[in-house]
Amino acid sequence: MSQPRICRLYGLDVESPYDIGPPSSATEPNVVVTVADECVDQSLEVAGDELAVDPLEPSRFVTLAVGDGQLLHRIHSVADVAIDVRAGRITVHPAVGGRHELIPLLAGAQILAVYLTALGHLVLHASAVEIDGRAVGLVGDSGSGKSTLAAMSCTAGARMVSDDVVRVMTCDDGVMAWSGPRALRLRPTSRALASVEIAEVTADERHLFAPDPTSSDVLALDRLVLPRLVVENGVLWRRRLSGERALFALLRYLRIGGWTDPVTAAEHFGRCAELVERVPVFVLEVPWGVDRPRLGRQVFELLRESADVDEISRPVLD
């Protein structure tokens, strides 16, 4: 750990001991992340009302309300995270015998996503790139291809906005997406690795790629795209989802899902419904399995194609 510094992520000025994002120009943070010296024994139960459980893998994390405006986000085998929502204070208690090397990664993504969600913001499991001055969100679960498609489109001219977490905000002027971590963490199997220069390997064994970043703190969100990697069929296919299907899809891809708390569930439902009314949502099927050197350029072109076209099918060029 180094001296605390203030980074700018998701519209927040975050002071933390980790290098989790680009430097902020703020002199005072609005969120402070600290790491406790003493480790916590996670075999001990914590008293509190359960708010959320990881919907995909319940053993991975749980979020509890432990007092007025106080949350405890337990990431099993890594850390207990105490969040004082009103004060903007986040204290990480490493778990005894846990994978502490993951804490910096989680601090810049999952932990801030919990904090933002607790504040009532909509936070999607997504990466985002800037194309023609607007943000395109690539939404999906881990392994769905969102970082890979972001990397491919960045090699063709897009700029990186945020990896793995996208905070979305609706306002009178439209829908905005805040920038976040500008480096992409690619799986070793990602085909995008063939055409990018890797900066380092991360604690979770991903390959770090730092494409050209956006210079904007917040951008208008032009569209959302759900990548689908399909066995090679030689065709790129983009189709727009109906509002109802788009709503159901987005509710599956909240960065912190599994909220059983009715108030938060109703907030997510309302915000996602408002989002699909204002922003088109597409599925993009991308052939996978055979090297196509021009695929990145074609993906980029399809991501920027007019949102007024409901369906486009295009052969992949060799």
Binding site: E244, F248, L251, P262, A265, A266, F269, E274, E277
Partner: protein, 92 residues
């Protein structure tokens, strides 16, 4: 003395939005979602405030010009689906 008509009303724990002209509802207690078709969407505002089967039938007859019998069968099916999805309050 005739019995009061049964009141049909959504539970307060049901959150809903109209998306692309159709109602999408979320039962916050069970975390289940439901999408209404165009007929269900037409009837939905009545269910929010609380209504009766007769009023729902009348709304369909008025909108589509169908017979009372056909409308009543549609209403029964729709209300039955809502009850199965646990979206309705217990009859008053």
């Amino acid at each position: 003395m005739s019995a009061s008509p049964v009141v049909i009303k959504l539970l307060p724990s049901v959150s809903w939005k109209e998306v692309d002209g159709r109602v999408v509802a979320l039962n916050l207690t069970t975390s289940t979602y439901l999408t209404a078709n165009l007929t269900g969407t037409l009837l939905w505002p009545l269910l929010v405030d609380g209504t009766t089967s007769a009023a729902l039938v009348a709304r369909l007859v008025d909108e589509y010009g169908i017979s009372d019998e056909v409308a009543a069968a549609d209403v029964d099916a729709f209300v039955g689906a809502l009850r199965s999805a646990e979206l309705l309050a217990d009859p008053a």
